[in-house]
Symmetry: C2
Subunit: 240 residues, 2 copies
């Protein structure tokens, strides 16, 4: 059975202007690979209502899971929650359990749960809350869309809490080998090998080290014995 | 006049599996901001013909420029060039000027221009070559699509050679200010300010430092005097 598929939507002007370097995509990619969910597409869009809604519809419709990052804070440019609700045509309003979580947090901090902070308690109808152990304001899962914060420490914590609840497929195994030949010398034999192992994926990543050309060849698949067989052939082709 | 818009397409299984962390998106975002071209969307897709073709059509059709990264090497999984050609419905074949560049490069290296390497001389009909000062294999511009390598040093060099040929708008200026208050305390006044300066964009990026909550507020726009005025108001709102 093929693995479940996933997409990611990164939301935020600051990523597209180059002010902030996204860190969540790489983390999510590694974590999903470990649990056997195939990340098939990532999109980055600005803090724009139509762009967010259109991307949520397209990606949630095409994949088993959509993970979003960013745009759930208290400021005017945090518009992710309302546009995920809009994509599914459901209402959104302050929800009592989310308000209670925030109230307790700001009481502990001696800060006021004002109107701006209360925006973070707006949850689309039918959603399940995702716990935020760092700054309290929850994420949520609506249908197959998991809405999480953009701050990496919070994104990572939210992801850690939902990943065990998702059903993955077989984890993808990988083996790799450095070959100190130009990638153009490796390409022909590697392509032949890939043709004989259609159940595995073969990647080649060139490098130059101390003036010597080489490539890291990475073979990936779900069957360890097949991987071993392919790597043995690769070793025989490029000994040393 | 609004600035020209751009999109980016990152191509490669290795990004989506988490094996490699993309570095080109952040670099492109900064460079485009500097020359007054608005990066409006980024997509990351695997080494899959249909995914690449569909993304090229969608993004090239919606923006003034599309920049692609990855998939133009000599191996079987390098399928960007043929799918950019396919998106525009033009033929692709080995072109003599591209072959000559590669032949000269491999002659200097004492290596053979074999069939795999010759794949890198396949250029869609009507395209203009983009110089590759590092490993010779050229990128190309077809219509409004700029096809570049995924290796960051080569991507950066190719980008540097084409950026001066593109017409940008007014560079986007930015000013920022650290405010040591919880973001929820800043949100209300900041939203009001943003409402009075619709020509500027206001971003708020929360942080926690030594247990103190704060936010970096970034104001961006093309008119320096307007930026100064908004920052003066912001300073008056949050003195110290």
């Amino acid at each position: 059975m093929p693995n479940p598929t996933a997409a990611m939507l990164v939301i935020g002007d600051e990523i597209l202007s180059g002010r902030t370097r996204d860190a969540n995509m790489h983390h999510l990619a590694k974590e999903l690979t470990d649990v056997g969910i195939d990340l098939r597409e990532v999109r980055v869009v600005p803090d724009d209502a139509d762009a967010i809604t259109a991307a949520v519809k397209a990606l949630a419709g095409a994949h088993d899971h959509l993970f979003t990052s960013g745009g759930i804070g208290p400021t005017h440019d945090d518009i992710t929650a309302e546009n995920v609700a809009r994509a599914f045509g459901v209402p959104i309003d302050v929800r009592e359990d989310a308000r209670a979580v925030l109230q307790a947090h700001y009481d502990r901090q001696g800060q006021e749960l004002n109107a701006a902070r209360l925006r973070m308690a707006r949850i689309p109808e039918g959603a399940t809350l995702i716990d935020n152990p760092i700054s309290a304001a929850p994420g949520f899962t609506l249908e197959n869309v998991h809405v999480m914060a953009g701050v990496p420490s919070i994104f990572n914590a939210m992801l850690a809490s939902i990943l065990p609840t998702l059903t993955g497929g077989a984890p993808v195994l990988s083996q790799s080998m450095q070959i100190f030949r130009g990638e153009g010398d490796i390409a022909g034999p590697l392509g032949d090998l890939a043709g004989r192992y259609p159940d595995l994926s073969f990647g080649s990543y060139p490098f130059v080290r101390d003036g010597v050309f080489g490539a890291q060849v990475v073979v990936r698949g779900q069957d360890g014995a097949r991987l071993d067989a392919a790597m043995a052939e690769l070793n025989a082709m490029f000994p040393g």
